[in-house]
C-alpha cells in the first residue's frame, strides 16, 4: 500500500531534479536574458517546493513566505527587463 506521503516525497525529489537542471542553464546561459529566464523558472519551482514543505510539516507560516517570495520575484523580473531595455 502506497501512502499519500510517499508520493509527495517522490514529487519533492522531482522538484529538486528540476531545480538542478534549470541551474545548468543558469550557469551556462549565453546572454543575460537566458539567466533571467532560468531564474524565473527556479523561483516558481522553489515556490512550489516551499508550499509542499509547508503542507508536509503542518506550518502555515511557510505559506506566507511563499506568497511574499512570489510577489518580490515578479517585481524583480520587471525591474531587470526595464533595466536591460534602458528604460530605468
Amino acid at each position: 500500500m502506497i501512502s499519500p506521503e510517499m508520493i509527495v516525497y517522490i514529487a519533492v525529489g522531482m522538484f529538486s531534479l528540476a531545480i538542478l537542471i534549470a541551474m545548468i542553464r543558469f550557469i551556462k546561459g549565453p546572454s543575460v536574458v537566458d539567466r533571467v529566464v532560468a531564474f524565473d523558472s527556479l523561483t516558481i519551482t522553489s515556490l512550489i517546493l516551499i508550499s509542499v514543505i509547508a503542507a508536509l510539516s503542518n506550518r502555515m507560516i511557510y505559506f506566507d513566505v511563499a506568497i511574499v517570495y512570489g510577489l518580490l520575484s515578479f517585481v524583480g523580473v520587471i525591474v531587470v527587463a526595464k533595466y536591460i531595455q534602458k528604460g530605468l
Binding site: V33, V36, T45, L71
Partner: protein
C-alpha cells in the same frame, strides 16, 4: 473518504512536478531565448497550478482552521496573472536588445510591423 481525497492531492502534486521537470528540460534543450521562455513559462504555469491544487486537496482535514485553502487560491490567481506578464515584458526587452534569433526561425512578425511603421522601436537614449 478522506484518504481518497489525500491520495488525489498527492497524485496532482506528482503531475505538477512532472510538468515542471519537463519545463526544466526544455529550458536546457531549446535553441534560442524565445523558445526557452516559451517552454519555461507555459509548462511551469501549468505545473504550478496543478501542484497548488494538489496541496490544497492534500491538506483536506485542516481547511477549517487557519484558512489554508484561501491562501492556495490567492497564490494560484497571483501566478496566473503575473507569470505571462513578466515573460512578455522580458521577451520584448530581449528583442529590442537584439538577442539573436535561432537560424531555423521562419517568420518574424514584429520585424514586419516595425518595417511597416505599425510599432515604433523604443529610443535607446
Amino acid at each position: 473518504m478522506e484518504d481518497t481525497i489525500k491520495l488525489i492531492g498527492a497524485i496532482m502534486i506528482l503531475m505538477g512536478s512532472f510538468s515542471l521537470l519537463v519545463a526544466a528540460i526544455g529550458l536546457l534543450r531549446m535553441p534560442d531565448v524565445y523558445n526557452r521562455v516559451q517552454t519555461g513559462t507555459k509548462a511551469s504555469t501549468l505545473g504550478a497550478i496543478m501542484a497548488f491544487i494538489g496541496v490544497g486537496l492534500f491538506k483536506y482535514e485542516s481547511w477549517g482552521d487557519g484558512n489554508w485553502l484561501g491562501r492556495v487560491i490567492i497564490l494560484i490567481i497571483f501566478i496566473l496573472l503575473t507569470n505571462p506578464v513578466s515573460s512578455h515584458v522580458l521577451m520584448r526587452a530581449a528583442y529590442f536588445m537584439k538577442v539573436p534569433l535561432s537560424k531555423i526561425t521562419k517568420t518574424d512578425k514584429l520585424k514586419e510591423d516595425i518595417d511597416n511603421n505599425v510599432i515604433k522601436e523604443p529610443s535607446n537614449e
